[in-house]
């Protein structure tokens, strides 16, 4: 009989304010196989992990169940604690009573406590049947692919190359630099954008480790962490690039307004990027009205694009300074200029004569034909009347949106996007530059609109993370692979057909034919398990016995109670 230890986590107030932790502990003590049940304020803390390890020794535990948060973040931590206490790390089972219970039933503490009990019963039932496993290893190819040659991708590639890693930078257009190649200066400091790009590009071009592919796209991605094969499609055909890691730096683009404020009809109405091009050509219009939040922070596109306010401030200030008789107005819904430098920019703009007017969604400004150029009609909330502003140029600050091919990139790499189409990292705080998929990393505005400076930080961070498996030279293969019981196998080949990785073949052993799993190729999806008619295939850590025991435990805990 297994000796299961159950540790229920308070997670401070996160669990304990909804779920009655002590009651769940008492319930767990009565479950079959449970030798110990206790609780921790924070199981993941040094103290919590220490008490789990002590308890393993004191109570001679051979299975551990922690009921806390999601296994998607903290499972490795608890597995390591088990290992340190002398238990094989695959004898650990995680029960999620935070994301899947306390956080989603905050107003139903009674029901949440009952649910937590059932989840713990299911976890204990599975844990009792867990078996020790040995992990395999897989070699990592000493090369990386960076998708996107904007400033994030450049920073990532330069950082990888600096570490001596063979790096392929794939850029769809015919030049590097992305959006930065189209703007004049980077706010709030006013750094020269092209010079910044040139600095990184020069470094890259000087390195024999860097391979820059312009006018190229990633057409296909095969393999897995450590062993990807990336097909780079350029004008001269396809190139197969072997890589250990992939960094996604596909960036963002400016939303094309759909006729707001006469965009597309009136030549005087342009976007920020068009203004940047005109500034680069030396144009300095005298009467300019900036309208912020055009197409963002409204139903359908609720997010704040975050970089536009600072771009507006930077350009408004530059124009205000260009001529003493400039008339610059910024019409905004709120000015988001966080940080000391940006706040200083706002102050300087105000002091240099830039006028700020606030509008609300219920009464948006209008752009009409004027005697000279156009006229912008704004309802001023303070004056409570409509103000008429003559303008030579109206600049719309539109949000940054994902590029058109981001869906295709997501599908190629099997990585998720949020509802606006931006890529979704593995964890906002704990794994901000990684995807949940091992070996694939994310940085810059492909994730969310960020400033050039933040793009560079994230590019470097993604490169640092991507270099870990490459420097290690190997990755651990989780012991969740499938295995075949040759005695039950009828060699029908169903599993062979079901496997998406061609990891199973039917071979002859001791004079009889049976399916065999190639562990190095198996990714642990378990598709073959459900395809088998004879229950001959099973997945480590997710066996039929273990999952059936969970179903039984739920039945027992939920239905076999006096009603």
């Amino acid at each position: 009989m297994a000796r299961v230890g159950v540790f229920i986590c308070h997670c401070g107030h996160n669990i304990a304010s909804t779920v009655n932790v002590e009651e769940v502990v008492e319930f767990a003590k009565g479950l079959p196989g449970v030798a110990y049940a206790g609780h921790n304020l924070y199981s993941c803390s040094e103290e919590g992990l220490g008490s789990i390890k002590r308890s393993i020794a004191e109570n001679r535990l051979d299975r551990v169940v922690v009921a806390a948060c999601t296994p998607r973040t903290h499972e490795p931590l608890f597995r390591r604690a088990c290992e340190q206490a002398g238990i094989n790390k695959y004898l650990f089972e995680f029960v999620n009573i935070r994301e899947h219970c306390s956080w989603i039933h905050t107003k139903e503490p009674r029901e949440a406590t009952e649910k937590a009990k059932k989840l713990v019963a299911m976890g204990v039932a599975k844990a009792a049947l867990l078996e020790p496993q040995t992990e395999g290893e897989s070699a990592v190819l000493p090369a990386a692919v960076v998708i996107g040659g904007g400033v994030s991708g450049l920073a990532a590639a330069a950082s990888l190359v600096d570490q001596g890693i063979e790096t392929h930078l794939v850029e769809a257009s015919d030049r590097l630099g992305g959006l930065l190649a189209e703007v004049t200066t980077i706010g709030p400091e006013g750094t020269d954008a092209r010079e910044t790009v040139r600095g990184i590009v020069t470094r890259l071009e000087a390195s024999p480790k860097a391979h820059i592919h312009l006018r190229s796209r990633v057409a296909e991605v095969k393999g897995f962490v450590g062993n990807f094969e990336v097909t780079v499609r350029g004008c001269d055909g396809d190139l197969k690039v072997p890589a250990g890691a992939i960094v996604v730096a596909t960036g963002t683009k400016e939303l094309v307004p759909t006729g707001e404020y006469g965009f597309g009809q009136r030549p005087e109405v342009v976007t920020q990027l068009e203004l940047e091009r005109r500034l680069a050509r030396g144009e300095r219009p005298r009467r300019v009205v900036f309208i912020n939040c055009v197409g963002s922070r409204q139903p359908g596109r609720e997010y704040c694009s975050r970089v536009c306010c600072n771009v507006t401030l930077k350009n408004a200030l530059a124009l205000a300074k260009a001529s003493p008789d400039s008339r610059i107005h910024v019409i905004h819904r709120d000015i988001m200029s966080s940080g000391t430098a940006a706040e200083r920019l706002y102050k300087e703009a105000s002091e240099s004569g830039v006028k700020f007017l606030r509008y609300g969604l219920e009464r948006v400004p209008e752009v009409v034909a004027g005697r000279d150029g156009v006229e912008v009609l704004v309802y001023d909330e303070t004056l409570e009347e409509t103000v008429h502003l003559g303008a030579d140029l109206v600049v719309l600050a539109v949000p940054m949106v994902p590029p058109g091919d981001s869906e295709a990139t997501a599908k190629l790499l099997k990585v998720p996007r949020d509802k606006f189409g931006f890529f979704l990292e593995a964890h906002v705080k704990l794994r901000p530059v990684e995807f949940a998929t091992d070996g694939v990393f994310i940085c810059g505005s492909a994730r969310w609109p960020v400033s050039a400076r933040e793009c560079i930080w994230q590019g470097m961070a993604a490169a640092a993370k991507a270099s870990i498996p490459i420097k290690e030279g190997k990755v651990v293969i989780q012991a969740i692979t499938a295995e075949v019981d040759p005695d039950k196998c009828a060699a029908c080949g169903n599993c062979v057909l079901a496997c998406p990785y061609e990891a199973i073949e039917v071979v002859e052993r001791d004079g009889r034919r049976a399916a065999k799993v190639n562990e190095a190729q198996c990714k642990g999806c378990g598709t073959c398990v459900a395809a088998c008619h004879n229950d001959a295939v099973s997945q480590k850590g997710f066996t039929s016995g273990q999952l059936s025991a969970m179903v039984d435990a739920l039945v027992k805990a939920a239905l076999e109670v006096p009603r």
Binding site: T70, P71, R72, N96, R98, E99, H100, C101, W103, I104, H105, T106, K107, E108, E111, A112, E114, K115, K118, L119, M122, A410, K411, K414, P416, R417, D418, K419, L424, A436, T437, I480, A498, P500, Y501, K523, G524, C525, G526, T527, V529, A530, A531, Q539, F542, S544, L547, S548, M550, V551, D552, L554, V555, A558, L559, E560
Partner: protein, 139 residues
């Protein structure tokens, strides 16, 4: 008499629907407390036998939630789920069980709101169906 509160089992795949459920939690999206999640690596590893086992023992409803077609972490795993679960439903129908007790749906890692919606809807549907008649049989 107290209102019928169904017991529901959900199989969620590690990469999409389980992550979607996590996101729902992170965003504190409230939903009925009737659903108990079993994490599997891929929805394609869910044997119809698990569904039958649950239903035949009196569980009132079973959800199988995978990645959207085309988004499967394991390339085409969920194509199999998409074929397999309807067959499981047909077998239940043939056995005289209302197949609305089983639902297959797709929830991505980004769709916390969709997870909440699917759970809320399904709990409502199963409530309307009433207790699984097999619950009485086994007791």
């Amino acid at each position: 008499m107290t209102e019928f509160s169904p017991t529901i089992l959900a199989f969620c795949c590690n990469w999409c629907s389980y992550a979607g459920a996590d996101l729902a939690g992170v965003n504190r999206l409230q939903m009925p407390p009737n659903v108990h999640v079993i994490r599997v690596m891929c929805s394609a590893s869910v044997k119809p036998e698990y569904v039958f086992k649950a239903i035949s023992q009196g569980i009132d409803g079973v959800l199988v939630l995978g990645c959207h077609i085309g988004d499967c972490h394991y390339l085409t795993g969920n194509h199999r789920t998409a074929k397999r679960i309807p067959v499981a439903k047909k077998i239940l129908r043939d056995a005289g069980i209302d197949d609305r007790r089983v639902r297959l749906d797709w929830v991505s890692a980004a769709e916390g709101e969709k997870f909440q919606q699917v759970i809320t809807e399904f709990v409502g549907e199963v409530k309307a169906l009433g207790p699984n008649p097999l619950r009485e049989v086994r007791m």
